[in-house]
């Protein structure tokens, strides 16, 4: 008596997904708005309660430098899409 083999067959995906540059720009802008709101909240806390501490100043600089860098990369990625 032979045991039947169980084979899994996945459906073949061959869809043409349309992701346009304007859509990516809208996604980036929406993300930027949310990011800016949270950044303002963080900046408010650092300014109000940070007491001008060196750690806070270093964190501010690092946070904004890396954020700007990543946003520039994402904008460049859209131009190369």
């Amino acid at each position: 008596m032979t045991i039947p083999k169980l084979t899994l067959v996945f459906p073949h995906l061959a869809l043409n997904l349309i992701i346009s540059t304007p859509a990516l720009v809208i996604i980036l802008l929406g993300f930027f708005v949310i990011y800016a709101i949270f950044s303002l909240v963080l900046y408010y806390h650092w300014l109000s309660y940070g007491m001008g501490n060196k750690g806070i100043l270093a964190a501010e600089g690092l946070y904004f430098m890396v954020s700007v860098f990543l946003f520039v990369i994402s904008a460049l990625a859209i131009t190369y899409y």
Partner: protein
């Protein structure tokens, strides 16, 4: 450094800032680093177990699209790291000549500030338990007060707890000496 937000008295200065050790958010940071590599792990997993996913045809540059979404993912992780760091860094005790200002940043827009004058402090207890806390010099600090409800202030994972206790005790003794310059004697 500007301490306007503390509303210190004229002759009052901050002599010590007590903060938690960086190890408290090391776990979160490691989790975030793992999340940063997660897209690559998922990509490898799909390549091995579901390669037909890659038959989806996209009109433009796939690598640029991947880079775009990956940078947004990194930005979200970066923001999460700094929210956690802000909570950690704004959790602080300011020790002045007259009191301890205890600030607990529970979350964003959720902050608790307490004051303990040195003449109200009964005892300061520190606890350094374990190999790593001993090597990295962090532990728990408890300040017992002489209030009606015997309220205690507690901070875990404090940097250099011995130094914290030494400063608090020295200020406490100084306040005590100023209150009773000739000793606390009673005439019969």
């Amino acid at each position: 450094m500007a301490y306007e937000a503390l509303h210190l008295e004229k002759d009052e200065h901050v002599i010590l800032e007590v903060r938690k050790h960086w190890i408290v958010f090391a776990g979160h940071a490691i989790g975030l680093i793992f999340c940063a590599f997660l897209p690559f792990i998922i990509f490898t997993f799909l390549k091995i177990y579901a390669p037909q996913v890659f038959s989806i045809s996209l009109p433009g540059n796939v690598y640029a699209l991947g880079l775009f979404f990956y940078t947004l993912w990194l930005l979200a992780l970066w923001l999460s790291f700094f929210v956690d760091w802000t909570k950690y860094y704004l959790d602080v005790w300011y020790v002045t000549e007259k009191r301890i200002i205890i600030i607990e940043q529970k979350y964003l827009f959720d902050r608790e500030v307490s004051n303990v004058r040195f003449d109200k402090i009964q005892d300061v207890t520190i606890e350094v338990d374990g190999f790593i806390p001993t090597m990295l010099k962090f532990g728990n600090v408890k300040v017992q007060t002489a209030s009606e409800d015997n309220f205690n202030f507690f901070m875990t994972t404090v940097r250099y707890p011995e130094e914290v206790r030494r400063v608090i005790f020295s200020q406490h003794n100084e306040i005590g000496d100023r209150s009773f310059p000739f000793g606390n004697t009673q005439s019969s």
